[in-house]
Amino acid sequence: MAVGQVGAPLLDGAALRADFPVFERPTASGRPLAYLDSAASSQKPRAVIEALADAYGHHYANVHRGIYELSVDADSRYEAARTAVARFIGASSPREVVFVRNATEALNLVAASWGGANLGPGDLVLSTEMEHHANLVPWQQVARGTGAGLEYVAITDDGRLDLHDLRARLARGPKLLALAHVSNSLGTINPVAEITRMAHEAGALVVLDAAQSVPHMPVDVTALGVDFAALSGHKMLGPSGIGALWGRRELLDAMPPFLTGGSMITRVTLEGAEWNEVPWKFEAGTPAIAEAMGLAAAIDYLQSIGMDRVRAHERFLFERAWASLEDMPGVRLLGPASPDEHAGVIGFVVDGIHPHDVATILDSEGIAVRAGHHCAQPVMLRYDLPATTRASFYVYNDLDDVERLVDGIRTTQQVFGTA
Protein backbone atom coordinates (compact mmCIF):
# COMPACT_ATOMS: atom_id res chain seq x y z
CA MET A 1 0.00 0.00 0.00
CA ALA A 2 1.36 3.43 -0.84
CA VAL A 3 1.60 6.17 1.69
CA GLY A 4 2.16 9.84 0.96
CA GLN A 5 2.32 10.49 -2.71
CA VAL A 6 2.72 14.23 -2.25
CA GLY A 7 5.51 16.09 -0.53
CA ALA A 8 8.57 14.67 1.12
CA PRO A 9 9.66 14.54 4.73
CA LEU A 10 11.95 17.28 5.93
CA LEU A 11 14.65 14.97 7.18
CA ASP A 12 16.20 12.03 5.43
CA GLY A 13 15.34 9.32 7.93
CA ALA A 14 17.37 6.69 6.12
CA ALA A 15 20.47 8.89 6.17
CA LEU A 16 19.97 9.65 9.84
CA ARG A 17 19.59 5.95 10.61
CA ALA A 18 23.19 5.55 9.56
CA ASP A 19 24.10 7.53 12.70
CA PHE A 20 22.40 4.95 14.93
CA PRO A 21 24.22 1.63 15.31
CA VAL A 22 21.05 -0.20 16.36
CA PHE A 23 19.76 -0.15 12.80
CA GLU A 24 22.63 -2.39 11.75
CA ARG A 25 21.18 -5.07 13.99
CA PRO A 26 19.32 -7.71 12.00
CA THR A 27 15.84 -8.53 13.22
CA ALA A 28 14.56 -12.09 13.46
CA SER A 29 12.22 -11.28 10.59
CA GLY A 30 15.17 -10.68 8.31
CA ARG A 31 13.83 -7.20 7.64
CA PRO A 32 15.46 -4.02 8.90
CA LEU A 33 14.22 -2.63 12.17
CA ALA A 34 11.33 -0.19 11.96
CA TYR A 35 11.64 1.39 15.38
CA LEU A 36 8.33 2.99 16.28
CA ASP A 37 8.69 3.08 20.06
CA SER A 38 10.62 6.28 20.66
CA ALA A 39 7.94 7.56 23.02
CA ALA A 40 9.00 4.79 25.41
CA SER A 41 12.68 5.42 24.82
CA SER A 42 14.73 6.63 21.88
CA GLN A 43 17.66 4.98 20.19
CA LYS A 44 21.14 6.54 20.54
CA PRO A 45 23.30 8.07 17.85
CA ARG A 46 26.98 7.20 17.61
CA ALA A 47 27.78 10.75 18.75
CA VAL A 48 26.19 10.04 22.13
CA ILE A 49 27.71 6.58 22.50
CA GLU A 50 31.11 8.01 21.66
CA ALA A 51 30.66 10.92 24.04
CA LEU A 52 30.05 8.40 26.81
CA ALA A 53 33.10 6.39 25.87
CA ASP A 54 35.15 9.57 25.77
CA ALA A 55 33.80 10.74 29.12
CA TYR A 56 34.53 7.41 30.81
CA GLY A 57 37.80 6.91 28.99
CA HIS A 58 39.36 10.34 29.32
CA HIS A 59 37.42 12.76 31.50
CA TYR A 60 36.05 10.74 34.34
CA ALA A 61 36.41 11.43 38.04
CA ASN A 62 33.96 12.26 40.75
CA VAL A 63 32.61 15.80 40.55
CA HIS A 64 32.15 18.36 43.30
CA ARG A 65 35.50 20.08 43.37
CA GLY A 66 38.17 17.52 43.45
CA ILE A 67 41.42 19.42 43.21
CA TYR A 68 43.31 17.41 40.63
CA GLU A 69 43.29 17.95 36.90
CA LEU A 70 41.00 15.06 35.99
CA SER A 71 38.36 15.99 38.54
CA VAL A 72 38.40 19.64 37.43
CA ASP A 73 37.91 18.39 33.89
CA ALA A 74 35.01 16.12 34.89
CA ASP A 75 33.48 18.79 37.05
CA SER A 76 33.52 21.48 34.40
CA ARG A 77 32.11 19.11 31.78
CA TYR A 78 29.36 18.06 34.15
CA GLU A 79 28.45 21.69 34.80
CA ALA A 80 28.70 22.45 31.08
CA ALA A 81 26.08 19.76 30.52
CA ARG A 82 23.84 21.55 32.97
CA THR A 83 24.30 24.75 30.99
CA ALA A 84 23.51 22.88 27.77
CA VAL A 85 20.22 21.64 29.22
CA ALA A 86 19.37 25.11 30.53
CA ARG A 87 19.95 26.71 27.13
CA PHE A 88 18.08 23.93 25.31
CA ILE A 89 14.89 24.55 27.27
CA GLY A 90 15.20 28.30 27.57
CA ALA A 91 15.97 28.42 31.31
CA SER A 92 17.39 31.70 32.48
CA SER A 93 20.19 30.07 34.47
CA PRO A 94 21.87 26.66 34.78
CA ARG A 95 21.36 27.05 38.51
CA GLU A 96 17.70 26.27 37.81
CA VAL A 97 18.49 22.85 36.37
CA VAL A 98 18.66 19.87 38.73
CA PHE A 99 19.99 16.60 37.37
CA VAL A 100 17.86 13.62 38.33
CA ARG A 101 17.43 10.08 36.99
CA ASN A 102 14.39 10.72 34.85
CA ALA A 103 11.18 12.70 34.55
CA THR A 104 9.62 10.46 37.17
CA GLU A 105 12.17 11.47 39.79
CA ALA A 106 11.82 15.12 38.79
CA LEU A 107 8.07 14.98 39.39
CA ASN A 108 8.52 13.08 42.65
CA LEU A 109 10.98 15.75 43.77
CA VAL A 110 8.51 18.59 43.18
CA ALA A 111 5.60 16.69 44.68
CA ALA A 112 7.51 15.69 47.82
CA SER A 113 9.56 18.82 48.38
CA TRP A 114 7.31 21.62 47.17
CA GLY A 115 4.15 19.71 47.98
CA GLY A 116 5.34 18.60 51.39
CA ALA A 117 6.21 22.17 52.32
CA ASN A 118 3.23 23.95 50.76
CA LEU A 119 0.21 21.67 50.90
CA GLY A 120 -2.16 20.93 53.73
CA PRO A 121 -5.79 20.12 54.42
CA GLY A 122 -8.06 22.41 52.46
CA ASP A 123 -5.51 22.93 49.68
CA LEU A 124 -6.24 21.63 46.22
CA VAL A 125 -3.98 20.23 43.51
CA LEU A 126 -5.09 19.68 39.93
CA SER A 127 -3.80 17.01 37.62
CA THR A 128 -5.49 15.74 34.45
CA GLU A 129 -7.10 12.58 33.18
CA MET A 130 -4.45 12.22 30.46
CA GLU A 131 -1.36 12.09 32.67
CA HIS A 132 1.32 9.45 32.70
CA HIS A 133 1.42 7.64 36.05
CA ALA A 134 4.58 9.64 36.81
CA ASN A 135 2.50 12.80 37.00
CA LEU A 136 -0.37 11.16 38.85
CA VAL A 137 0.80 8.82 41.56
CA PRO A 138 3.28 11.25 43.20
CA TRP A 139 0.42 13.74 43.57
CA GLN A 140 -1.85 11.06 44.98
CA GLN A 141 0.86 10.28 47.50
CA VAL A 142 1.47 13.86 48.55
CA ALA A 143 -2.27 14.54 48.72
CA ARG A 144 -2.65 11.56 51.01
CA GLY A 145 0.33 12.63 53.10
CA THR A 146 -0.67 16.26 53.51
CA GLY A 147 -4.44 16.03 53.50
CA ALA A 148 -4.69 18.19 50.39
CA GLY A 149 -7.36 17.50 47.77
CA LEU A 150 -6.55 16.21 44.29
CA GLU A 151 -8.80 16.63 41.27
CA TYR A 152 -8.38 15.79 37.62
CA VAL A 153 -9.18 17.97 34.66
CA ALA A 154 -11.42 16.01 32.29
CA ILE A 155 -10.51 15.13 28.72
CA THR A 156 -12.76 15.19 25.69
CA ASP A 157 -13.75 12.24 23.54
CA ASP A 158 -11.09 13.15 21.02
CA GLY A 159 -8.42 13.30 23.70
CA ARG A 160 -8.04 17.02 24.29
CA LEU A 161 -7.99 18.71 27.65
CA ASP A 162 -11.46 20.03 28.45
CA LEU A 163 -10.75 23.72 28.94
CA HIS A 164 -14.22 24.37 30.33
CA ASP A 165 -13.61 21.82 33.00
CA LEU A 166 -10.17 23.31 33.61
CA ARG A 167 -11.67 26.77 34.06
CA ALA A 168 -14.27 25.48 36.47
CA ARG A 169 -11.67 23.68 38.56
CA LEU A 170 -9.27 26.61 38.54
CA ALA A 171 -12.08 28.69 39.98
CA ARG A 172 -11.75 26.65 43.17
CA GLY A 173 -8.31 28.11 43.74
CA PRO A 174 -5.95 25.15 43.43
CA LYS A 175 -2.36 25.80 44.49
CA LEU A 176 -0.86 23.85 41.63
CA LEU A 177 -1.66 22.31 38.28
CA ALA A 178 0.41 19.35 37.09
CA LEU A 179 0.01 18.54 33.41
CA ALA A 180 1.71 16.93 30.47
CA HIS A 181 2.92 19.02 27.57
CA VAL A 182 2.35 16.05 25.27
CA SER A 183 0.34 12.98 26.27
CA ASN A 184 2.29 9.76 25.76
CA SER A 185 -0.85 7.69 25.23
CA LEU A 186 -2.98 10.05 23.12
CA GLY A 187 -0.33 12.15 21.43
CA THR A 188 -2.20 15.33 22.38
CA ILE A 189 -0.19 18.55 22.48
CA ASN A 190 -1.67 20.72 25.19
CA PRO A 191 -1.85 24.51 24.73
CA VAL A 192 0.50 25.06 27.64
CA ALA A 193 1.09 28.80 27.30
CA GLU A 194 -2.64 29.47 27.39
CA ILE A 195 -3.27 27.00 30.19
CA THR A 196 -0.45 28.50 32.21
CA ARG A 197 -1.92 31.99 31.83
CA MET A 198 -5.23 30.67 33.11
CA ALA A 199 -3.58 28.81 35.98
CA HIS A 200 -1.49 31.77 37.05
CA GLU A 201 -4.50 34.05 36.98
CA ALA A 202 -6.14 31.61 39.33
CA GLY A 203 -3.05 31.63 41.54
CA ALA A 204 -1.85 28.12 40.73
CA LEU A 205 1.70 27.12 39.93
CA VAL A 206 2.20 24.96 36.84
CA VAL A 207 4.31 21.79 36.81
CA LEU A 208 4.92 20.72 33.24
CA ASP A 209 5.66 17.10 32.43
CA ALA A 210 7.79 17.80 29.37
CA ALA A 211 9.01 14.22 28.94
CA GLN A 212 7.30 13.88 25.56
CA SER A 213 7.73 17.44 24.30
CA VAL A 214 11.34 18.45 24.89
CA PRO A 215 12.66 15.58 22.71
CA HIS A 216 10.37 16.39 19.81
CA MET A 217 9.75 20.13 19.47
CA PRO A 218 11.20 23.47 20.48
CA VAL A 219 10.36 24.05 24.14
CA ASP A 220 11.10 27.28 25.94
CA VAL A 221 10.07 27.12 29.58
CA THR A 222 10.40 30.86 29.97
CA ALA A 223 8.16 31.59 27.01
CA LEU A 224 5.64 29.00 28.16
CA GLY A 225 5.63 30.64 31.55
CA VAL A 226 5.50 27.42 33.58
CA ASP A 227 7.06 27.08 37.01
CA PHE A 228 8.60 23.62 36.88
CA ALA A 229 9.38 21.23 34.04
CA ALA A 230 10.46 17.60 34.03
CA LEU A 231 12.32 15.71 31.30
CA SER A 232 14.14 12.42 30.66
CA GLY A 233 17.41 12.14 28.75
CA HIS A 234 16.69 8.66 27.43
CA LYS A 235 13.73 9.88 25.39
CA MET A 236 15.82 12.51 23.60
CA LEU A 237 18.66 10.41 22.18
CA GLY A 238 20.57 10.63 25.48
CA PRO A 239 21.67 8.01 27.98
CA SER A 240 19.39 6.29 30.46
CA GLY A 241 19.83 7.26 34.10
CA ILE A 242 19.81 11.01 33.50
CA GLY A 243 17.00 13.54 33.42
CA ALA A 244 16.35 17.02 34.65
CA LEU A 245 14.02 19.08 36.75
CA TRP A 246 13.86 22.72 35.84
CA GLY A 247 12.31 25.11 38.33
CA ARG A 248 12.18 28.84 38.93
CA ARG A 249 15.10 29.83 41.08
CA GLU A 250 13.05 31.42 43.85
CA LEU A 251 10.85 28.33 44.13
CA LEU A 252 13.80 25.96 44.23
CA ASP A 253 15.59 28.17 46.73
CA ALA A 254 12.66 28.01 49.11
CA MET A 255 12.10 24.27 48.86
CA PRO A 256 13.44 21.78 51.41
CA PRO A 257 15.82 19.13 50.10
CA PHE A 258 14.55 15.82 48.75
CA LEU A 259 17.27 13.18 48.98
CA THR A 260 20.00 13.94 51.49
CA GLY A 261 23.64 12.94 51.86
CA GLY A 262 26.93 14.03 50.37
CA SER A 263 27.46 17.26 48.45
CA MET A 264 23.97 18.64 49.04
CA ILE A 265 25.08 20.06 52.37
CA THR A 266 27.41 22.81 53.49
CA ARG A 267 27.80 21.69 57.05
CA VAL A 268 26.96 18.51 58.89
CA THR A 269 27.28 17.90 62.58
CA LEU A 270 25.87 15.09 64.64
CA GLU A 271 23.04 17.46 65.51
CA GLY A 272 21.95 18.45 62.04
CA ALA A 273 22.86 19.79 58.63
CA GLU A 274 22.74 22.95 56.54
CA TRP A 275 21.87 22.76 52.87
CA ASN A 276 23.93 23.76 49.89
CA GLU A 277 22.70 26.21 47.25
CA VAL A 278 20.52 25.09 44.34
CA PRO A 279 20.82 23.08 42.22
CA TRP A 280 23.28 21.09 44.32
CA LYS A 281 20.90 21.06 47.28
CA PHE A 282 18.87 18.58 45.26
CA GLU A 283 21.73 16.39 44.03
CA ALA A 284 22.63 14.09 46.89
CA GLY A 285 25.54 11.75 46.35
CA THR A 286 27.47 11.03 43.21
CA PRO A 287 25.35 12.00 40.21
CA ALA A 288 25.13 10.35 36.79
CA ILE A 289 28.30 12.14 35.74
CA ALA A 290 29.10 10.67 32.34
CA GLU A 291 25.40 10.38 31.53
CA ALA A 292 25.00 14.14 31.97
CA MET A 293 27.82 14.60 29.48
CA GLY A 294 26.11 12.12 27.15
CA LEU A 295 22.91 14.12 27.42
CA ALA A 296 24.81 17.23 26.38
CA ALA A 297 26.01 15.32 23.31
CA ALA A 298 22.42 14.35 22.52
CA ILE A 299 21.38 17.99 22.76
CA ASP A 300 24.21 18.91 20.39
CA TYR A 301 23.01 16.30 17.95
CA LEU A 302 19.39 17.49 18.13
CA GLN A 303 20.46 21.11 17.75
CA SER A 304 22.53 20.26 14.73
CA ILE A 305 19.29 19.07 13.15
CA GLY A 306 17.22 21.89 14.62
CA MET A 307 14.19 21.30 16.81
CA ASP A 308 11.91 23.06 14.35
CA ARG A 309 12.90 20.53 11.74
CA VAL A 310 12.50 17.62 14.15
CA ARG A 311 8.97 18.77 14.83
CA ALA A 312 8.18 19.37 11.16
CA HIS A 313 9.51 15.92 10.25
CA GLU A 314 7.40 14.17 12.85
CA ARG A 315 4.38 16.24 11.94
CA PHE A 316 4.77 15.12 8.35
CA LEU A 317 5.03 11.45 9.35
CA PHE A 318 2.06 11.87 11.67
CA GLU A 319 -0.10 13.32 8.93
CA ARG A 320 0.70 10.51 6.53
CA ALA A 321 0.21 7.81 9.09
CA TRP A 322 -3.01 9.31 10.39
CA ALA A 323 -4.42 9.71 6.89
CA SER A 324 -3.68 6.09 6.02
CA LEU A 325 -4.87 4.57 9.30
CA GLU A 326 -7.97 6.71 9.49
CA ASP A 327 -9.24 5.09 6.32
CA MET A 328 -8.55 1.52 7.38
CA PRO A 329 -11.64 -0.48 8.27
CA GLY A 330 -11.51 -1.82 11.79
CA VAL A 331 -8.89 0.63 12.99
CA ARG A 332 -9.75 3.25 15.61
CA LEU A 333 -7.38 6.11 16.38
CA LEU A 334 -6.98 7.99 19.63
CA GLY A 335 -6.38 11.67 20.22
CA PRO A 336 -7.05 14.81 18.20
CA ALA A 337 -7.01 14.60 14.40
CA SER A 338 -5.41 18.00 13.88
CA PRO A 339 -1.65 17.85 13.37
CA ASP A 340 -1.39 21.11 15.30
CA GLU A 341 -2.61 19.36 18.38
CA HIS A 342 -1.04 15.96 17.88
CA ALA A 343 2.60 14.95 18.27
CA GLY A 344 4.26 12.01 16.52
CA VAL A 345 2.57 9.45 18.77
CA ILE A 346 -0.39 7.46 17.51
CA GLY A 347 -2.39 5.24 19.81
CA PHE A 348 -4.83 2.89 18.11
CA VAL A 349 -6.92 -0.23 18.48
CA VAL A 350 -7.79 -2.83 15.86
CA ASP A 351 -11.27 -4.26 16.21
CA GLY A 352 -11.35 -7.84 17.42
CA ILE A 353 -7.61 -8.06 17.97
CA HIS A 354 -5.92 -7.46 21.28
CA PRO A 355 -3.27 -4.72 21.18
CA HIS A 356 -0.63 -7.17 22.36
CA ASP A 357 -1.39 -9.49 19.50
CA VAL A 358 -1.08 -6.58 17.09
CA ALA A 359 2.32 -5.74 18.56
CA THR A 360 3.49 -9.34 18.37
CA ILE A 361 2.57 -9.69 14.74
CA LEU A 362 4.16 -6.35 13.88
CA ASP A 363 7.27 -7.53 15.71
CA SER A 364 7.37 -10.58 13.50
CA GLU A 365 7.68 -8.12 10.61
CA GLY A 366 10.54 -6.23 12.30
CA ILE A 367 8.29 -3.38 13.42
CA ALA A 368 8.73 -2.30 17.05
CA VAL A 369 5.63 -0.76 18.61
CA ARG A 370 4.40 -0.74 22.18
CA ALA A 371 1.16 -2.25 23.45
CA GLY A 372 -0.41 -1.89 26.84
CA HIS A 373 -1.65 0.90 29.06
CA HIS A 374 1.42 3.08 28.43
CA CYS A 375 1.50 4.01 32.11
CA ALA A 376 -1.75 5.84 31.64
CA GLN A 377 -4.36 3.47 33.01
CA PRO A 378 -6.86 6.27 33.65
CA VAL A 379 -6.77 7.04 29.92
CA MET A 380 -7.59 3.40 29.17
CA LEU A 381 -10.45 3.53 31.66
CA ARG A 382 -11.68 6.82 30.19
CA TYR A 383 -12.04 5.24 26.75
CA ASP A 384 -12.98 1.81 28.10
CA LEU A 385 -10.05 0.06 26.47
CA PRO A 386 -8.03 -2.69 28.10
CA ALA A 387 -4.97 -1.40 26.26
CA THR A 388 -3.87 0.16 22.99
CA THR A 389 -1.11 -0.28 20.47
CA ARG A 390 1.09 2.76 20.00
CA ALA A 391 3.44 3.84 17.21
CA SER A 392 5.70 6.82 17.79
CA PHE A 393 8.12 8.63 15.51
CA TYR A 394 11.50 10.27 15.75
CA VAL A 395 14.18 11.65 13.48
CA TYR A 396 15.29 8.23 12.22
CA ASN A 397 11.85 7.27 10.95
CA ASP A 398 10.60 7.86 7.45
CA LEU A 399 7.68 7.13 5.16
CA ASP A 400 8.92 3.61 4.69
CA ASP A 401 8.32 2.98 8.40
CA VAL A 402 4.83 4.43 8.09
CA GLU A 403 4.12 2.21 5.12
CA ARG A 404 5.38 -0.87 6.93
CA LEU A 405 3.22 -0.02 9.92
CA VAL A 406 0.12 0.26 7.77
CA ASP A 407 0.95 -2.93 5.88
CA GLY A 408 1.66 -4.71 9.16
CA ILE A 409 -1.73 -3.82 10.57
CA ARG A 410 -3.30 -5.14 7.38
CA THR A 411 -1.34 -8.38 7.77
CA THR A 412 -2.50 -8.63 11.37
CA GLN A 413 -6.09 -8.35 10.26
CA GLN A 414 -5.46 -11.05 7.66
CA VAL A 415 -3.91 -13.40 10.22
CA PHE A 416 -6.90 -12.90 12.49
CA GLY A 417 -9.30 -13.13 9.58
CA THR A 418 -10.88 -9.79 10.41
CA ALA A 419 -9.95 -8.09 7.13
Binding site: H356, I361, S364, A371, C375, P386, A387
Partner: protein
Protein backbone atom coordinates in the same frame (compact mmCIF):
# COMPACT_ATOMS: atom_id res chain seq x y z
CA UNK B 1 8.58 -15.21 12.07
CA UNK B 2 7.16 -15.25 15.59
CA UNK B 3 3.83 -13.83 14.61
CA UNK B 4 3.18 -16.52 12.05
CA UNK B 5 4.41 -19.33 14.28
CA UNK B 6 2.45 -18.12 17.23
CA UNK B 7 -0.88 -17.44 15.65
CA UNK B 8 -1.43 -20.89 14.21
CA UNK B 9 -4.93 -21.71 13.13
CA UNK B 10 -5.83 -23.77 16.19
CA UNK B 11 -4.75 -20.90 18.46
CA UNK B 12 -6.95 -18.49 16.57
CA UNK B 13 -9.83 -20.98 16.66
CA UNK B 14 -9.55 -21.28 20.43
CA UNK B 15 -9.43 -17.47 20.58
CA UNK B 16 -12.52 -17.01 18.44
CA UNK B 17 -14.48 -19.87 19.93
CA UNK B 18 -13.00 -20.61 23.33
CA UNK B 19 -13.93 -23.84 25.06
CA UNK B 20 -15.22 -23.77 28.62
CA UNK B 21 -16.03 -20.11 28.51
CA UNK B 22 -18.57 -18.67 30.89
CA UNK B 23 -19.51 -18.81 34.54
CA UNK B 24 -20.67 -21.98 36.30
CA UNK B 25 -23.61 -21.40 38.63
CA UNK B 26 -23.58 -22.78 41.20
CA UNK B 27 -19.86 -23.44 41.66
CA UNK B 28 -17.56 -24.61 44.43
CA UNK B 29 -14.49 -22.53 43.66
CA UNK B 30 -14.16 -19.10 42.15
CA UNK B 31 -11.26 -16.77 41.57
CA UNK B 32 -10.39 -13.73 39.45
CA UNK B 33 -7.01 -12.23 38.67
CA UNK B 34 -5.45 -10.00 36.08
CA UNK B 35 -2.38 -9.43 34.00
CA UNK B 36 -1.84 -5.72 33.92
CA UNK B 37 0.70 -6.34 31.18
CA UNK B 38 -2.15 -6.85 28.75
CA UNK B 39 -4.97 -5.28 30.66
CA UNK B 40 -6.32 -8.83 30.71
CA UNK B 41 -8.75 -9.96 33.36
CA UNK B 42 -9.77 -13.54 33.87
CA UNK B 43 -12.13 -15.26 36.25
CA UNK B 44 -12.65 -18.96 36.81
CA UNK B 45 -15.35 -21.12 38.32
CA UNK B 46 -15.00 -24.80 39.20
CA UNK B 47 -17.48 -27.43 40.22
CA UNK B 48 -16.14 -30.38 42.21
CA UNK B 49 -17.32 -33.97 42.40
CA UNK B 50 -19.24 -35.21 45.41
CA UNK B 51 -16.08 -36.08 47.31
CA UNK B 52 -15.00 -32.50 46.69
CA UNK B 53 -11.80 -33.94 45.39
CA UNK B 54 -11.92 -33.84 41.63
CA UNK B 55 -12.89 -31.27 39.03
CA UNK B 56 -16.37 -31.98 37.74
CA UNK B 57 -16.64 -28.93 35.57
CA UNK B 58 -14.66 -25.76 34.91
CA UNK B 59 -15.17 -22.49 33.09
CA UNK B 60 -13.24 -19.29 32.61
CA UNK B 61 -14.41 -15.84 31.68
CA UNK B 62 -12.96 -12.44 30.88
CA UNK B 63 -11.30 -10.59 28.10
CA UNK B 64 -7.79 -10.83 26.81
CA UNK B 65 -5.36 -11.43 24.02
CA UNK B 66 -5.35 -14.45 21.73
CA UNK B 67 -2.62 -16.13 23.71
CA UNK B 68 -4.27 -15.86 27.10
CA UNK B 69 -7.68 -16.88 25.72
CA UNK B 70 -6.33 -19.82 23.76
CA UNK B 71 -4.21 -20.93 26.69
CA UNK B 72 -7.24 -20.87 28.98
CA UNK B 73 -9.35 -22.69 26.43
CA UNK B 74 -6.74 -25.40 25.89
CA UNK B 75 -5.83 -25.89 29.53
CA UNK B 76 -9.37 -26.05 30.86
CA UNK B 77 -10.12 -28.79 28.34
CA UNK B 78 -7.62 -31.00 30.17
CA UNK B 79 -8.60 -30.49 33.79
CA UNK B 80 -11.83 -32.36 34.30
CA UNK B 81 -11.31 -35.39 36.48
CA UNK B 82 -8.09 -34.15 38.04
CA UNK B 83 -7.82 -33.88 41.82
CA UNK B 84 -7.25 -30.60 43.59
CA UNK B 85 -3.85 -31.92 44.59
CA UNK B 86 -3.02 -32.56 40.97
CA UNK B 87 -4.11 -29.06 40.03
CA UNK B 88 -1.85 -27.66 42.70
CA UNK B 89 1.08 -29.62 41.27
CA UNK B 90 0.53 -28.51 37.70
CA UNK B 91 3.83 -27.50 36.13
CA UNK B 92 3.56 -24.03 34.60
CA UNK B 93 6.23 -24.96 32.07
CA UNK B 94 3.96 -27.74 30.86
CA UNK B 95 1.01 -25.41 30.58
CA UNK B 96 3.12 -23.37 28.20
CA UNK B 97 4.56 -26.32 26.31
CA UNK B 98 1.08 -27.73 25.92
CA UNK B 99 0.11 -24.74 23.81
CA UNK B 100 2.20 -26.15 21.00
CA UNK B 101 3.44 -22.78 19.78
CA UNK B 102 6.66 -20.95 20.68
CA UNK B 103 5.84 -18.55 23.52
CA UNK B 104 8.64 -16.00 23.88
CA UNK B 105 9.40 -14.27 27.18
CA UNK B 106 7.31 -11.25 26.20
CA UNK B 107 4.12 -13.30 26.08
CA UNK B 108 4.78 -15.80 28.86
CA UNK B 109 2.46 -14.07 31.28
CA UNK B 110 -0.30 -14.10 28.71
CA UNK B 111 0.08 -17.84 28.42
CA UNK B 112 0.28 -18.28 32.19
CA UNK B 113 -2.61 -16.10 33.27
CA UNK B 114 -4.95 -19.08 33.29
CA UNK B 115 -2.47 -20.97 35.44
CA UNK B 116 -2.29 -18.09 37.90
CA UNK B 117 -6.07 -17.80 38.14
CA UNK B 118 -6.43 -21.56 38.53
CA UNK B 119 -3.91 -21.63 41.37
CA UNK B 120 -5.75 -18.76 43.00
CA UNK B 121 -8.99 -20.72 42.80
CA UNK B 122 -7.45 -23.90 44.19
CA UNK B 123 -5.50 -22.20 46.96
CA UNK B 124 -8.10 -19.59 47.77
CA UNK B 125 -5.69 -16.67 47.47
CA UNK B 126 -3.75 -14.91 44.75
CA UNK B 127 -0.39 -16.47 43.93
CA UNK B 128 2.61 -14.72 42.42
CA UNK B 129 3.72 -15.33 38.86
CA UNK B 130 5.70 -18.51 38.43
CA UNK B 131 9.46 -17.94 38.34
CA UNK B 132 9.66 -18.53 34.61
CA UNK B 133 7.45 -15.55 34.00
CA UNK B 134 9.89 -13.32 35.85
CA UNK B 135 12.74 -13.41 33.38
CA UNK B 136 11.85 -9.94 32.25
CA UNK B 137 11.64 -6.74 34.25
CA UNK B 138 8.58 -5.32 35.81
CA UNK B 139 6.85 -8.05 37.72
CA UNK B 140 3.19 -7.44 37.25
CA UNK B 141 3.53 -3.99 35.80
CA UNK B 142 5.13 -4.77 32.61
CA UNK B 143 5.33 -3.97 29.03
CA UNK B 144 2.45 -1.75 29.19
CA UNK B 145 4.87 0.49 30.97
CA UNK B 146 6.52 3.57 29.57
Amino acid sequence: MTGDNLYRDFILEHYREPHNRGVLEPHDLHFADSNPTCGDEMSMTLRLDEARERVADIAFDGRGCAISQASASILTDDLRGLTLGELRELDPAEVVANLGVPIGPARLKCALLVYKVLQGAVRGAAVGWPEEADVLAGGNAGGSAP
